[in-house]
Amino acid sequence: MVAPVEPKPGGTLRNAFGGVLGFFILLLIGVLAFSIRLFSVIKYESVIHEFDPYFNYRVTQFLTKNGIYEFWNWFDDRTWYPLGRVIGGTVYPGLTLTAGTMWWILNSLNIPLSVETVCVFTAPVFSAFAAWATYFLTKEVKGIGSGLTAATLLALVPSYISRSVAGSYDNEAVAIFALIFTFFLYIKTLNTGSLFYATLNALSYFYMVCSWGGYTFIINLIPMHALLCIVTGRYSSRLYIAYAPLVVLGTLLAALVPVVGFNAVMTSEHFASFLVFIIIHVVAFVYFIKGILSPKMFKVAITLVLTVGIAVCIAVIAILVALVASSPTKGWSGRSLSLLDPTYASKYIPIIASVSEHQPPTWPSYFMDINILAFLVPAGIIACFLPLSDASSFVVLYLVTSVYFSGVMVRLMLVLAPAACILSGIALSEAFDVLTQSVKLQLVKLLEGPLSNSGDTKDENSTAQNDVLKADKQVATNNKTEDVKERPSKKNRKKDKENTEKAPVKSHNEKRLLALPLEASAIAIILLVVLGSLYVIHCVWAAAEAYSAPSIVLTSRSHDGLHVFDDFREAYAWLRHNTEVDDKVASWWDYGYQTTAMANRTVIVDNNTWNNTHIATVGTAMSSPEKSAWEIFNSLDVKYVLVVFGGLVGYPSDDINKFLWMVRIGGGVFPHIKEPDYLRDGQYRIDAQATPTMLNCLMYKLSYYRFVETDGKGFDRVRRTEIGKKHFKLSHFEEVFTTHHWMVRIYKLKPPKNRMKGKTKKPKHTSKPLSGARRDGSTKKNPWQ
């Protein structure tokens, strides 16, 4: 809020000034959001980060090289050998297309940036956009101030930084922006009720669908909100306009995205929207006839309509139930099921449970990711409830749902973060609002106190009055400063009224309220500022230390300085330069994307885990004894096997630690792999107590082959034990490459033996000397006889 101690005519000027200021603040927020994500580039280098980004990067390269149509129809024969993968049909193209377009534009502007650079910086750029989108959204909800605050908070929020540092070139980077922007447009439509925004809304929803699987969150949240409004009797034709076209257009557009395709109407994630669609029509019709009919006629009609409507609903529900019951996964994709029932994945789909970011988060992670916002959010909710508008109710709904989801999956913290930011933004700005006002009034009182005798209340009233006027004026300016294109809708106005009412109410009983609150409010402000600065410090720390490590290059600080482990790229470079182009490399699926992207070799499975049995095959091979593993791999034409091993340098997320998942996933499809065989009375160990099955499985052998040669006794730094079996030979595999820190080890399958041995029993030793002596004496056998 602008300080109200100025002459009246300066008002417009001041508001213009405020607008410009706001614009610059936004600009700065954008810069901030962009620059705080550059730590990774500064501290490390401008590289693509962990796993999926490499795939996106590869796809982008393909796109920029071969054009959109080739990309659309891309059948990739270098992954999921021998099944191959229809990339065009199974990838969310949003991110790729965005980066591709950016690159194309830049090049057509003769700014020769490499594709990689563009990819690296896509995420920061879009986080800036996201901040702005947040601004607009929050502004729609609670005015500029909270908008700016929310934008600032989002620009800094760690959980979003974790997914959008420079180089983490992943869907979420773009999707969060799309998400917020879609919500913004929805609210906008809701507020204005203009088809134009409805169209834009549908389009941005389309972009969201292109970018991320999380679009189902939108297509479920918005119907929920619509339903909420209807139930709470807040139905308005604006709601209809905001909702109905979105469903129709959105569904059509979503169906255009190959990866979604008919799922947009077939799977149960989307059914909610259709139900609400029908309901809203019924309701709309009810209101319509209510408008044109006389009340008593209306009674009849209403019953009729309702019956019909309910009948239709029931019919549809019946159909849906039928459909759902028919489909095996109850029409829900595994991930969304695990959202509804958190224990589902761990029970049925180990492949989903195996991904660390699908685990439920821990409390510290909440504090880590949305630091103080966690405390501000409740305040924000309260602020939203006085007064409750469609928009604020939407925000609250958004928050509640996202809190639930984030409780199920760490990954969905990302969805929670914007909601938290918005609400705490609202909370903060409201708080500042109140406090600054009281401070201002206090100051006025202090200024005027000496001149007038204390008993006279009139001029105080007058001051109060012109305060009111000022407030009014400034409210008016508020309204003016609001976007000129659309007139302020009633609600805004109502809200502002209330703002203004607050002020005089306060100002009236100020004398009683503000007896001492100058200090109190001042302290409160200071506290808030401190709080904010704490948040900032935390965020900067998170951005700099926690989240900016690209997991392909690792560093470790020890007493003798900084160590850099660049083993992954070493290994992939080796593969690229020392193997045939058509060789197949088998590894656990985590490394599939990197292998295809960095080593350009065909892989069996990769991080796009679309075929469970194929992954299970690899898992089975890894957990089988050497010979059968060799047979499995050979049947897949595998030439090289790549394992990641942290035992030497203590890199915890290596294949031995992931091994149990391989066993589970493999056992899920091939029952002869049983998890208990690998566990010594329930716990997983690789030392002398380990089970023989464990000590003979391929993964163990490939990881610990020749490990004992490093230090005398083969001490595993990750598991902190000595390994169980130390000296053994490999009969069907040969080690071809091991990186400098032994983090990646590459083995080659030996060709089948050229000859087949016989029984190879050694002759009895009792008879040997006799025969020997008989022949090699002086007397040979007469060759002629």
């Binding site: 021998p82 050229n754 000859r755 016989g758 190879t760 008879s767 040979k780 002629w784």
Partner: protein, 421 residues
Amino acid sequence: MAKMLFLPLLILLLFLFECESFSAENPTDRRLLVLVDDLAIRSSHSLYFKFLESRGYVLEFRLADDPKLALQRYGHYLYDGLVIFSPSVQRFGGSLDQAAVLDFVDAGHDLILAADSYASDLIRGIASECGVDFDEDPDAVVIDHVGYAVSEIDGEHTLIAADDFIQSDVILGEKKIEAPVLFRGIGHSVNPASTLVLKVLSASPSAYSASPKTKLSTPSITGSTIALVSVVQARNNARMLISGSLDLFSNRHEKSGNEQFVTEISKWVFHERGHLKAVNVTHHRVAELAEPAMYRINDDLEYSIEIYEWSGSSWKPYVADDVQVQFYMMSPYVLKSLSTDLKGLYFTSFKVPDVYGVFQFKVEYQRLGYTSLSLSKQIPVRPFRHNEYERFIPAAFPYYGASFSTMAGFFIFTIVYLYNK
């Protein structure tokens, strides 16, 4: 005189055959090293050696314990084939040992190994490395009291008349061997799991392998499981002949099947017969000629391959009706017999399955006595492109109609709405 002549000849031949020694283009062996433990064998088996020389092989005779023995010099082999006629040698001389011999075989060269009524552990070792196990009892020989060769001086019935040959024209030649083969030596058993070993000559059901001198304990191998002569074709198509008797190759036993037997089988071992090669694998869409980098599902394709057999001097077209091609992805989706034009060309055509993925054209041709052909060629099969699906389906006409009618309706509506009063 012989010295004067032999040495330069050998050198000349060495230089001559550097270029066209054993090779894919000319698989017949040329230079053979014959290891004997008594040079007298050269005269006692002279007929067999004479035959080999008449086939154009260059024989080099060495004592098995010659300290200057070496199979390879400067990393490449001096010989194409090895004939080990030294059953009693305990260890080879020079740089030669069991491992060296096996490496020689694994390098694709051929081997003839003859044990005798005694075989040293070295010989047994080599044999069992190739999947042939001689009877462990060192005194055991094959005895057959029913099917023995009648002669007034041999009463032990250790010289047996075996006529249980393998039925294969490739290995034993077209001409049937009438007279039985006279065999005196030790029997062996082949590893039943091995798909590479073939019993060429096996004993009669009444035979058994034991020492005729001592009283009989349970013999380890009896009856027709006793293999007298076996051949091994390694995976790299190196061929080995393992015989339990050196006597088999000697000059005696005229008017028996021996001579024909050993000559025919030697031709096979030294790749004069049954060596196939496949060339010019081509595949393309019907009505196209260029080989595509990728097929689309439901394409019609044509596949062709040329197979030739080495006749000992030149490549002749190979004629058979059982060559098959697989269109293979984890399991064969299409498996078709190829039809041939009797000039070595085999061809077929089929429709690509409606399953996309990385397929392989596999030709796995393994026949008794022939070198195994196994080629596979990788080819991806992609699904339809977005614009390759069928369009304008009559079944969908109503939908089209609806869409367009709504468009028309919309158009009319705009006009009407705007200008109506």
